[in-house]
Symmetry: C2
């Protein structure tokens, strides 16, 4: 039976580390890391995500500044806010909650977030740099970074291993593939147009599933000893009781955990890591800013 990679526990450890480092930054430099969250419209899921992120900030001592704009906000108004936040000294990170309402140009907004405050790692410049050895972008996107961190903190070697990534989205599949490549894995990226998928997934030492299909990866699709990171979060209802929904991953946990060496559960795997990485990126942004200020004072 597989070792369970306990994302909730690992994320809690990371949040405790961040809390200590936030306190140290405050004591030594008088700097409190600050995250601005921008929520446009009234998508209830987005509102919940933002609330959870702000709560997580509070728990580790990061200041959060919440902006809630009406659904009819114009591109110009949102751009003005992003530029204003970009100029503020107490805001070290800017998070624009996606998706934005359809009339707004998401890419233009994301590109307006200054790179040194892009704690979500969504600027298109970041994406390509993830795959280039020796050229780290300012911030890696949170969910892919969380996947890598789960491997590292579980003592799983990446270099020289065969990694197979299911899914090629710009948010998860593609960046995690590029990060694994930069860490010297041999990486295969599969997607909906991949024939004979099982013949490829069975070669994986490390399998990352990020396709949004409930229990898609079955026991016969993996080899014994594989390490599985399940990024999927799918809401399913059981036929017997349609009112009771529950969350499952892209991997059939019961089947795959029979032969895997290690596997993340859903929920409690990658999920909790995403917010932990957002907090860490914000801390890092504040720390870099403090170092710059020290340098400019010394000059």
């Amino acid at each position: 039976m597989a070792t369970i990679i306990d994302g909730a526990a690992i994320a809690a450890t990371i949040r405790a580390e961040i809390k200590d480092e936030v306190a140290r930054l405050k004591a030594e430099h008088g700097v409190t890391p600050g995250l601005a969250t921008v929520l446009v419209g009234d998508n209830p899921a987005s509102a919940t995500y933002v609330r959870n992120k702000r709560k997580a900030c509070a728990e580790v001592g990061i200041a959060s500044f919440g902006y809630e704009l009406p659904a009819h906000t114009t591109q110009d108004e949102l751009m003005r806010l992003v530029h204003e936040l970009g100029a503020r000294d107490d805001v070290h990170g800017i998070l624009v909650q996606l998706p934005l309402p359809a009339h707004l140009d998401e890419q233009a907004i994301l590109s307006a977030v200054p790179l040194h405050k892009d704690v979500d790692g969504f600027n298109p410049v970041n994406l390509g740099l993830l795959g280039v050895k020796g050229r780290r972008p300012p911030f890696a996107p949170c969910t892919p970074q969380g996947c890598i961190e789960l491997l590292d903190r579980s003592g799983i070697r990446i270099a020289g291993r065969r990694a197979v990534v299911l899914g090629r989205s710009a948010i998860v599949g593609l960046p995690v593939a590029l990060m694994l490549l930069a860490r010297d894995a041999t990486v295969t990226i599969c997607h909906s147009q991949t024939p004979n998928l099982a013949s490829i997934t069975r070669t994986a030492d490390i399998l990352i599933a990020a396709i949004g299909k409930p229990r898609f990866v079955t026991g016969d699709m993996v080899k014994a000893g594989v390490v599985v990171i399940d990024v999927g979060i799918n809401r399913v209802t059981d036929a017997g009781d349609p009112r009771r929904a529950r969350l499952v991953g892209d991997v059939d946990f019961d089947e795959v955990s029979e032969s895997a060496a290690a596997i993340t559960p859903v929920p409690g795997g990658v999920g909790p890591m995403t917010i932990a990485m957002l907090l860490r990126n914000t801390l890092v942004a504040a720390r870099r800013r403090a170092a710059e200020q020290k340098t400019s004072e010394a000059a």
Copy 2:
């Protein structure tokens, strides 16, 4: 025996197409596409490359503006020139020949080339966008684009095929892998840290070699029917006659062409395509500019 993918002939066809379209752009819009080439220092290979590019421009009717700066040019001086060229109306594309002398910050210079004039496709923003379906960067880098064009013009299907890319450089391996992915291939990226390489290359329907190791890919490393694009250009001398150097690819052509369905030779494969793609990117840049001017005149 494999079909030879004749890059020289395909590139000649493309240059003839470009020549026609340059003439049409001139006749219909009064616009002559212009490429500025910037050469710093006196690397003889770089000087040759730039000369060949300017000669190719002349042949298709593209104006070229050559800047040759001394090796001791400062970062500021070079930045000023790039900005000046960025502002000029008769310069539609800017090519900064690499490598730059070591005291210059190559990435800063490349990032200063405006995206709409980055006909080399080397801006880091471009790299990530290459892999994202439905989000094309302004210009794809020339050599990877040349590889894809060779496949397309030879009637080789990419979607649904297994592609293996040897090499992960930001100039060739990584961008060509991302372009194949965006075209719905299932892509594996291999490199110096990949164990059991032959077991992976033997799964390839399409194999791209870009590692700079002479005749590295041998006959036993491919399956029958593979399509091979050899990006390597390696200078080797034969033991018998050390003064006579010749060029070979990363693929052992004689061995691999026994079982491949199609293969590019070296020289005469990918090489001629790189300049053809540079010419095409410059034409496209000029065409976009003409369309913008027309729109703004109409307004």
